[in-house]
């Protein structure tokens, strides 16, 4: 049986070059980290198979938001659209590693970092030789004081205190792009720093978690002395960069979720055709068929709003922040609906560790909780719409 629409990608008009990028990413994933490998890495210290990022780097995974003169470049000239193609393929096979964090760090360091950041760190990230992730400690995203890092001025730099939990890939990262709020008495705004994880006072604690296909860590800062040379952009003036990072993080996470939803729905649909009960394929029963129709509608709508968010952030439209929050909250909520609905179609077999359903359920659910939960995004939508 054919499944229509045959065009299943989030973006409907891929150029020949973009189609090649997609195929190359899919082939690399199938070779380097198929679901069987994702499974093998469960419980291992790192979720990354040997040389995973070092091989992905030359495929362009971490350099598409970086200008060509710094060793980056995209296939279409619209970097985020290209990164999103990779994110969608990664989502289909629940790929490991802080993909959003890598791209965010590379993009921000290339745009706002010092010359040293741009010549030393950015090329290493583009190549996949070094791993970086984002530590959003600015107190936004609805976490309030629980996950906040405060920068207090001191001679020659600042001192950082506080913690953020969870940070994707925190224990695998070499570099942290840290967003911090100013100390109340200095009245400062938000600042950003790039810090090596081996810096004295930085403690990285690996965490166990719902999503067994990804690693998270708690990262705490105990009066970590940071020199001015580690600052990324103006001290107290990082607000616009952080907003951009939030948009990128939400878009890439959302697109990855859509890829995972598409793959999960595909195996569920096949199961509903293959599984026989009461003398009929269970997908012929309206009770099952209608659930699948609703899930498939949720999936098409998720693709549409995710693609709209990719476009808005790529083009930096005035309403990009609002559209991103719509996409993030919509896909987070409908993604969980879809994953739970698929579990109901699989029934007993989906309740086993051996079946892949739970891996998708875990990733889709966790992605929906990262970078601002849905209710926080909905309040943000109201605020950004001046209501």
């Amino acid at each position: 049986m054919r499944w229509l629409p045959e065009v299943r990608n989030l973006e409907l008009d891929l150029s020949a070059d973009q189609e090649l990028l997609r195929e190359t990413a899919a082939r690399f994933i199938a070779d380097a980290c198929p679901l069987s490998t994702v499974r093998q890495m469960i419980g291992a210290e790192s979720d990354l198979p040997a040389d995973y990022f070092k091989t992905a780097g030359p495929l362009g995974w971490f350099s598409m938001l970086v200008p060509e003169e710094l060793g980056g470049g995209s296939v279409s000239g619209a970097g985020l659209r290209d990164v999103a193609i990779v994110a969608e393929e990664r989502g289909r096979v629940l790929q490991p590693g802080p993909f959003a964090g890598m791209n965010i760090a590379a993009a921000t360091l290339a745009a706002a970092g010092s010359t040293a950041h741009r010549t030393d760190i950015v090329p290493a990230l583009c190549d996949g030789r070094a791993i970086a992730t984002w530590v959003p400690g600015d107190g936004a995203q609805g976490t309030g004081d629980r996950d906040r890092i405060v920068a207090t001025p001191r001679a020659g730099g600042v001192s950082l205190s506080g913690r953020v939990r969870p940070v994707q890939g925190g224990a695998q990262a070499d570099w942290l792009l840290v967003s911090a709020g100013g100390a109340p008495r200095s009245g400062g705004g938000q600042s950003q720093f790039v810090i090596h994880t081996a810096t004295p006072g930085v403690t990285v604690t690996p965490l166990a978690g719902l999503d067994v296909t990804q690693r998270y860590a708690a990262i705490s800062f105990a009066d970590v002395v940071v020199l001015d040379t580690a600052a990324v952009g103006a001290l107290g003036g990082a607000e616009a960069d952080i907003e951009r990072q939030l948009q990128l993080a939400c878009v890439l996470t959302t697109v990855e979720t859509v890829g995972a939803m598409d793959a999960l729905f595909d195996i569920t649909r096949s199961y509903a055709i293959d599984r026989i009960a009461f003398g009929r394929p269970i997908g012929s029963f309206q009770a099952v068929k209608h659930q699948l129709a609703d899930m498939s509608l949720a999936l098409e709508a998720s693709k549409a709003i995710a693609a709209a968010a990719v476009g808005a952030v790529q083009e930096r439209t005035e309403d990009a922040g609002q559209i991103v929050s719509m996409a993030k909250s919509w896909v987070a909520d409908t993604g969980v609906d879809l994953a739970q609905g698929c579990a109901q179609v699989f029934a007993g077999i989906g309740f086993t560790w051996e079946h892949d359903l739970h891996l998708y359920l875990r990733r889709i659910t966790m992605n929906g909780l990262l970078f601002g939960q849905s209710d926080w995004h909905r309040e943000r939508i109201c605020r950004l719409s001046l209501v």
Binding site: W3, L4, P5, F285, A304, R378, I381, S385, V387
Partner: protein
């Protein structure tokens, strides 16, 4: 019956598009009036006899100017030009007041007559289509019945041959704007001894035919867009039959294609942003002093997000259509989205507005609007095929899921009805 052989999409030949555009622009400026603001969808009550007469006169002016039926065949009064010519004309016409017959604009010019052009006899089309183009004939659909809504092939209005005529008896319902139309395209059962899809035939029935009674139906929201019709020995000449005898279901499927929007000038304007946050609900929250309530704000953002997701989903499905992916299952996504989200959104008017908004001073302008919006919201989950029907179409036509066992496709329709009655009696 030999068909008209009509190509509803005209030939690609004809004037060069730029020349055509210039000529259309000059003609419009000389003959039509510029609009003050964007066109508005009127309520049925807005289409008074005077308004209808004025719009018929505008349509006649288009016809005499050579801009009616741009893609329809020349032999039936059209211009025989390409879709590209038609698109150019409507781009130029966007700033002008154009003929507006409410829902009858779509049923006449984009559904019924395009359907007839694919199957009716050349003799009929030569006689009838020019009257449509001249604004003298507006066509509605006599399609649904009290006993067949989503199951349209189960129509029970009967057509019995009587020499050169047919005699129609039965009842139709949900005919949009039938009280303002001149004729209706009517689906009737011409043979009860064959399976249900094989005994149907389409006819054109004048709205003033003796024995035909048309009654507007007051809806849940108090307006009357729809009518019901009673056919008591209505005589229709065989020359007004619109397809081969018993070939009505194939023509019905053609009609579905036009109902879904085939052949209309395409709107490829770039998608706009989300726009202001659900203005109706924000106004309601402000009026009831709940705009700062965090729970209400969650609902407002949900409604706003759903509105925008509906827009981008529509654009995605239209885009899939342009890529040649528009099978009926895919087209049903937009319908099911509206059918599932509109009732929820309508509920928000009651939840946000509360009892204060569900009561009003009769002197207050638009005071009834929240309550009307609340009851109106159910329509989208029913009209044009229920949500359940859309889910079947998506499941079977888009997802390739196996069909339910059928109880009515392989036996005479008269037996189907008998067996179903016995089934209920055995329960």
């Amino acid at each position: 019956m030999t068909t008209g052989g009509a190509e509803t999409v005209g030939s690609a030949t004809g004037p060069v598009l730029d020349d055509y555009r210039n000529a259309a622009r000059a003609w419009l400026a000389a003959n039509m009036t510029r609009r003050d603001g964007p066109p508005e969808d009127g309520d049925v009550d807005d289409y008074t006899p005077d308004v209808m007469a004025a719009n018929r006169a505008l349509q006649r002016r288009l016809y005499e100017g050579g801009y009616a039926g741009i893609t329809w065949p020349v032999e039936y009064g059209g211009q025989g030009l390409s879709r590209a010519h038609e698109a150019v004309f409507w781009e130029e016409a966007a700033e002008f007041v154009m003929p507006d017959f409410g829902a009858l604009t779509i049923t006449t010019f984009y559904v019924c007559v395009p359907t007839m052009l694919t199957s009716a006899s050349p003799e009929f089309l030569r006689r009838y289509v020019p009257k449509v183009l001249a604004g003298e004939q507006l066509v509605c659909q006599f399609f649904s019945e009290p006993s067949s809504g989503s199951d349209l092939a189960g129509a029970r209005t009967s057509a019995v041959r009587d020499g050169e005529d047919w005699v129609l008896n039965g009842q139709k319902i949900w005919s949009t704007f039938a009280n303002l139309a001149d004729a209706g395209m009517c689906l009737a059962r011409s043979d009860w001894s064959v399976p249900k899809h094989q005994g149907l035939t389409w006819f054109l029935v004048p709205c003033d035919a003796p024995g035909l009674t048309i009654r507007p139906i007051q809806q849940i929201n108090e307006v009357a867009e729809f009518c019901e019709e009673f056919f008591d020995d209505v005589v229709v000449p065989d020359s007004d039959r619109l397809c081969d005898v018993n070939a009505g279901w194939a023509l019905t499927r053609t009609m579905f294609v036009f109902e879904r929007g085939a052949g209309r000038p395409e709107d490829e304007s770039p998608l706009e942003g989300p726009g202001p946050l659900a203005p109706d609900l924000v106004a309601l929250a402000r009026r009831t002093e709940r705009l700062q309530d965090p729970l209400v704000r969650q609902q407002l953002a949900r409604a706003h997000t759903t509105d925008y997701v509906g827009k981008v989903l529509g654009a995605r499905i239209a885009h899939l259509g342009r890529l040649g992916q528009l099978n009926p299952g895919v087209a049903s996504y937009v319908k099911l989205f509206r059918g599932t989200t509109s009732p929820q959104r309508a509920r928000l008017t009651a939840e946000i507005g509360g009892a204060a908004a569900m009561t009003w001073d009769p002197a207050e302008p638009d005071g009834a609007e929240p309550a009307l919006a609340y009851v109106r919201g159910r329509g989208a989950s029913i009209a044009g095929g229920t949500n359940e029907t859309q889910r079947n179409v998506i499941g079977e036509r888009a997802l390739g899921l196996p069909r339910e066992p059928s109880f009515d496709t392989d036996k005479p329709y008269s037996d189907v009805l008998r067996d179903a009655r016995n089934w209920a009696a055995d329960a």
